[in-house]
């Protein structure tokens, strides 16, 4: 097995030798002494610049004077939530009658005695079965074996009306609807239920990244020019290497926010243990883990899109304006657009419809007779029937991130299947607070440290930028300097009910 070369991280062009006894163009080329002409010294980013990939970090981490994340003191955190107000209960059995054989249950106002799981249904209230049979609860329930027994009477107009046996089978839900009706006079008071909020739990992840440099690589100039973060170009190697590390770490953080998998079991124990230290490794539930609603598609249709958006918006009537952002890759953006255009066209050709009438001016732009016409227009918003709008936002990690790298190919486009994943995220504000927020441990949002060796790092924030001009405080006597990052992070979606994942599926 060949050993890795120690200097591979620092030397751009390895030294090479020619032992053939003479020198010609070929041996010079082999020794890399001659090169083909370089027509553009600035590096061409074949897959695009890496720094536009992090919409979630951008939207949650906070900008100057903008949004703020949440600082927590421990790894685990919780927040109170109120679910849907419960109005129904499930039937356990019918007492005193055999539901399989009994006939005319409840006929003429005859009482019958269902047993429910809890005493959630309250006396005097009107209750409805799933198919609309209405009954009144007479008096209080009593605790019996297996639940609470009630006395019900059917509310009827026709003396032949009965309670269908199928409505009295176990697990059928009866629901209080329309309050408690009482007589005109001499009525007694009844009871009410109160529902306490529950709690949701999550935790934050702790990410580390380190890189090491050795020798005098900081001062090495290479043959290419790199774009610097400030917009200039440089031939120095180290700023470029550091830029790569920064971008890689930022990408890892963004991916963690999306796809980190929560790793506590039912009993609250962390299931991933570091075998070196024996200590648990907390991993947060990322956005993907927190989305409780999901569906799949093969070829997106407008009907499917509309139904999904309906599901996303369901129960959203308490908000003035919802801001649903659909994060997706290029594939998903195309499917979104195509589904709407296909629906508009029906059985006709898409172009015969979008290029007809007024719509044509939206797809072809440019002056009449111009030789600079522009073709193409794309849908990137969907307005729901109640006025809420879903807006597309490109999530490049679905096209080029780690998940895209090993994703199966879409059979038609050849793009990674992950590019077609669609995450409908409720980015609204509720009670003055953003629904999606970054969470981090107090004082440890990001820590960067240098384990100083004799190798110098350039950069004002590292403390060694004067280099040879002063004595270095060394942490190691090795001619090697290490840079370490540690970041605590997690994302909290307070209302996940309006979040939905729609994935493209291959079977």
């Amino acid at each position: 097995m060949s050993l890795p070369r120690q200097d591979e991280s620092r030397i751009i062009t390895h030294e090479s030798y020619n032992g053939r006894g003479f020198t010609d163009e070929n041996s010079l080329a082999r020794m890399r002494m001659t090169k083909p002409d370089t027509i553009n010294p600035a590096i061409t980013y074949l897959m695009g610049r890496e720094d536009k990939k992090f919409p979630l970090t951008f939207l949650t981490e906070g900008q100057k004077g903008g949004r703020k994340g949440i600082e927590v003191n421990s790894i685990e955190y919780k927040f109170p939530v109120m679910g849907r107000l419960k109005k129904s209960d499930q039937l356990v059995r019918l007492d005193f009658l055999d539901v399989a054989t009994a006939t005319n249950i409840g006929r003429g106002g005859a009482p019958f005695y269902p047993v429910f799981k809890t005493d959630w249904l309250k006396m005097h209230h009107t209750v409805y079965s799933p198919n609309g049979t209405a009954c009144r609860i007479q008096g209080k329930s009593e605790r019996v074996n297996g639940g609470f027994r009630y006395k019900f009477v059917l509310i009827y107009r026709d003396a032949n009306e009965v309670v269908p046996n199928s409505e009295l089978l176990s697990n059928v839900k009866w629901s209080m609807t329309g309050g408690a009706s009482v007589s005109q006079s001499d009525s007694k008071g009844n009871e009410s239920n109160v529902q306490a909020p529950g709690e949701l739990k999550n935790q934050i992840s702790i990410l580390r990244k380190s890189y090491h440099i050795a020798g005098n690589v900081t001062n090495k100039v290479v043959e290419f020019q790199f774009n610097t973060p400030k917009g200039g170009v440089s031939s120095l190697w180290m700023p470029f290497e550091e830029y790569q590390h920064d971008i890689q770490f930022k990408e890892a953080c963004e991916e963690n926010l999306w796809w980190s998998k929560y790793n506590r079991d039912d009993k609250g124990n962390i299931t991933t243990i570091d075998d070196e230290t024996g200590l648990p490794i907390p991993m947060a539930a990322g956005v993907n883990d927190q989305i409780p609603n999901h569906d799949t598609y093969g070829e997106l249709t407008a009907k499917k899109l509309s139904r999904t958006i309906s599901d996303v918006m369901y129960g959203a009537t308490d908000t003035g304006h919802m801001n649903i952002v659909l994060f997706t890759g290029i594939g998903g953006m195309e499917e979104f657009d195509n589904s709407i255009k296909r629906d508009i066209a029906g059985s006709a050709s898409v172009w015969s419809v979008v290029l007809a009438g007024d719509a044509a001016s939206k797809f072809i732009t440019g002056a009449p007779g111009s030789s600079n016409l522009s073709f193409g227009a794309y849908f990137s918003q969907y307005k729901h029937v109640d006025g809420h709008v879903v807006t597309i936002k490109h999530l490049p990690l679905l096209d080029f991130g780690g998940r895209a790298d090993n994703s199966p190919e879409h059979p038609i486009s050849g793009k990674p299947l992950s590019s077609y994943e669609m995450y409908f995220i409720d980015m609204s504000s509720y009670d003055g607070q953003n629904n999606v927020k970054l969470v981090y441990e107090k004082g440890r949002m990001l820590i960067r440290g240098v384990e100083q060796g004799m190798s110098l790092l350039r950069g004002a924030s590292y403390g060694d930028y004067k280099g040879n001009g002063k004595d270095l405080a060394l942490a190691t006597d090795q001619d090697r300097t290490s840079v370490h990052f540690m970041k605590t992070l997690g994302v909290s979606i307070f209302r996940n009910t309006h979040c939905f994942k729609l994935s493209c599926d291959l079977s």
């Binding site: 679910g83 739990k201 799949t296 009907k303 059985s347 038609i412 939905f500 729609l502 291959l506 079977s507």
Partner: protein
């Protein structure tokens, strides 16, 4: 269509009397007794259940979650649960369009693309025997044989295959969804398969099928234990069985007494009774055990993750690419093979000593 032999009268050939009255009676007797169509119906009840999904946060009310069975792609077309002929039988009722309609192709494609079926939480269903999304359908068969085969099928895949012999007369939409689930990658086709892939979110469930499967396993275990009872004192056979189960009976750390061997084999029966039954009744058990013993002693080479066996100084002699092949090789009456067998035996004996 197949004849239903089970309904034929037993005495159909017995009447030989030639009198016209009797002949008439005989003729009546030869007619297969018609079976009422209701007796050729199979009513199927099953449900689609959620696997415990890793979604939401601890504390979430999972009843409110909205996981759905959605559409998918197979190749470049939407995944469909039926073949083209079946689509023509079942989809006209669901779609309200004839297969002769010009839009048939587009409508069926849209139908499969638009599948979006919520699977309720176990607590939500109204059928306590079948929680989740209940599927109910009735299949009319043409003969009792097909119905019986369908009814006795252990797996949903087998049921789906046999269902093609009949016609769904009730619950077509549920039947179509059932067939779709069998090919949709996010639904496991049995409860036992639900952890086979991280992609699986749901599984098909029927108490009847589960009971049948568990009973068959119980029956196999019972047969295996009966067979085991018969060889409890036959230590050479016990050793051979241990060897084919990749255990070394000479390992004194693990097996100090024959009772230790019994306990290990008992555990193996519980885990895989079918395999035990196959081994215990295998006539070449001794040869297989010899090969396994030779492998353990380094005399025969069995490369990791393969079932191939090699012999010789340079491992140049292929005994077989499977254990039965290797047995056949050593059993062969060819002189060279017999010599190799003898050589292996003596080397094993030497290794033991």
């Amino acid at each position: 269509m197949e004849n239903n032999n089970t309904n034929k009268p037993n005495n159909e050939n017995k009447a030989k009397d030639s009198s016209p009255v009797v002949q008439q009676k005989t003729a009546v007797k030869e007619e297969p007794k018609p079976i009422h169509p209701s007796k050729l119906r199979s009513k199927v009840e099953l449900s689609i259940r959620r696997k415990s999904l890793n979604a939401g946060l601890p504390g979430d009310d999972t009843v409110l979650h909205n996981p759905k069975i959605g559409s998918s792609l197979r190749g470049k077309a939407p995944l469909s649960g039926l073949d083209l002929d079946e689509e023509k039988v079942y989809l006209p009722t669901i779609l309200g369009i004839s297969p002769l309609d010009l839009n048939w192709g587009r409508e069926t494609r849209d139908y499969w693309s638009n599948i979006s079926e919520r699977v309720p939480h176990d607590k939500e269903g109204t059928n306590s025997r079948l929680p989740g999304r209940l599927l109910l359908f009735t299949i009319q068969f043409n003969n009792l044989r097909d119905k019986k085969i369908f009814d006795n099928a252990e797996t949903f895949d087998a049921k789906a295959a046999f269902s093609k012999k009949g016609k769904v007369i009730e619950g077509e939409a549920d039947y179509v969804l059932f067939r779709y689930c069998l090919v949709y990658g996010r639904v496991a086709n049995s409860k036992a398969d639900r952890y086979k892939s991280g992609k699986i979110d749901f599984y098909l469930y029927s108490q009847e099928t589960e009971s049948k499967k568990n009973y068959n396993l119980f029956e196999l275990r019972r047969q295996a234990k009966n067979a085991f009872d018969g060889i409890l004192t036959d230590e050479s056979k016990i050793n051979a069985l241990l060897r084919v189960f990749e255990k070394d009976p000479t390992d004194t750390f693990m097996f100090q007494t024959i009772e230790d061997k019994h306990l290990v084999l008992d555990g193996l029966i519980d885990k895989n009774p079918k395999r035990f039954l196959a081994f215990v009744s295998d006539k070449s058990l001794a040869q297989k055990a010899l090969i396994k013993e030779a492998v353990l002693a380094g005399i025969v080479h069995n490369p990791a993750n393969t079932d191939s066996y090699y012999y010789g100084d340079d491992k140049q002699i292929v005994l077989g690419n499977s254990l039965p092949d290797a047995v056949l090789f050593l059993r062969s009456k060819e002189e060279r093979n017999a010599q190799i067998l003898e050589s292996i035996k003596s080397q094993v004996l030497y290794a033991k000593s």
